[in-house]
Amino acid sequence: MHKKLIIIGGGPAGLAAACAAVKRGLSPDDVLVLERDSEPGGILNQCIHAGFGLHRFGEELSGPEYAGRYIQMAREANIPIMTNCMVLGLTNDRQVTFVSPELGYVTATADAVILAMGCRERTRGALNIPGTRPAGVYTAGCAQRYINIEGFMPGNRVVILGSGDIGLIMARRMTLEGAKVLTVCELMPYSGGLARNIVQCLDDFGIPLRLSHTVTEIHGKERVTGVTIAKVDEANGRKPIPGTEEYIECDTLLLSVGLIPENELTTGAGISLDRMTNGAAVNQFRETEAAGIYACGNVLHVHDLVDYVSEEADIAGTHAAATILGETEKTVKSVKVTTGFGVRYTVPERIDITETAEAVRVFFRVTDVYKKVQLVIESESGEVLVKKAKSAVAPGEMESLEIPADKVAALAASEDKKITVYLRELGGSK
């Protein structure tokens, strides 16, 4: 089988990339979306809460509604989506091996491949929580699937470790369904979740959020009977402080402790990952170091808003289509994007400047909570390319800066080989 464009994953990233590629001029017959679940939509299908689509559609939709919009667009564009398809392997010359109930074992080639596999949750095994191994320990997303799709409750008395957005959303969901959520423990001195979710999922229901706390032991033989929590020492590597332990009787522990881009296929193709994003390193078109292989959405870096996933998938889909159609310009110079003070990672990691230099938007996450800062991108020779003042920034909210086209053109003409994204503190307290 040969296709001009194969997209791995039929969630929000894959669907938006497919729609963008067809809009850019590819025939839908030349596109194939491979989805491992029985329906497209990805994780949005279980995210039944509202708040999606404010940027993209100007209204607040639930996850299934947001997915539904893109499924509808893909359907209207006649884009083929093969469900129940598991991709087993990818090579860096764009050979995709997958299994499907109808076609069996298939090896397909493509002119371009877009990786849109999303991410998965960090599990108990990744945290090394001591204790027994009873039933009742779930990742928050797993519990979300049980309740919202399978239709059963995973427990009655719940402790949640981690205050990421999925954990907060599940605290509200389980409370509304009749469970007692006893507490949410967060290792860090601040929550990684959106302020809105802290207010609407915890404060609304009087659920205590314990910052700088962790679970130090899980109790129970067949089923969880309780957990021990303790305060951690900020000054000493966030180790539990002896004497602060507290036993909480519960039957369920939910873990909301981070998401990891799912990149087994990417590394299998020999594409190296950015240590900070756990996704492939890409240029501004979201093309990886392997020619014709793109990545977008949560497989590239974990996003906080699906609207940004769609936007990123647009970029990847549009450029993949343009490349297939032979309508892209040559790269005249590559510039590395590096991180400076206060910046954890950037996407893209490099800018491939083309003959007609275009404006480039750089997305990034900060390392800590800062108040009154200036976000800056500076060239190697010390010229400020773009800057923006912010009253507050937090690791949980992605930031971005756009380098204007004339500055990109000037960069191409200069001797500079890299640019740096950093924060400048404007005074005031941290």
Binding site: P64, G68, G151, E177, A195, V199, D204
Partner: protein
């Protein structure tokens, strides 16, 4: 005089806003916000906090019972959330159902409906 402390959720700054009310629950003062949007938010949170409720109901399909995601088409008063969940729990629908279909009319308040948020054939 009563004071209420809340965190503004309009932007990531997360200002701690204090609202002061008199004996008749009338707002006397709003302090702590750093922009006008914070004041608007604080006043609505103190006088009539509203939330969009999302949940699931049972939908009978030809492949058996499934979970249909649902939501209110407008926010409902926050104190009515649990009362609303009682109605959601009793609601059963039969496929086909389309996104936006009204499942319960005048849900909690007149003019607010419980609607489907996914298609089931």
């Amino acid at each position: 005089m009563i004071t209420k402390e809340l965190t503004c959720v309009v932007c990531p700054a997360g200002c701690k806003v204090t609202v002061t009310l008199d004996e008749n629950n009338q707002i006397i003062d709003v302090t702590g916000q750093t922009c006008p949007r914070g004041k608007t938010y604080a006043i609505s949170e103190v006088t009539n906090p509203v939330r969009t409720l999302t949940s699931t109901v049972t939908v009978q399909t030809k492949d058996g019972a499934k979970m249909l995601p649902v939501r209110t088409d407008k926010p409902i008063p926050r104190p009515t959330l649990f009362e609303a969940m009682e109605i959601v729990r009793r609601t059963v629908v039969t496929a086909p159902v389309k996104t936006g279909d009204v499942l319960v009319e005048n849900f909690i308040e007149e003019g607010i409906n419980l609607i489907a948020s996914k298609d089931f054939e």
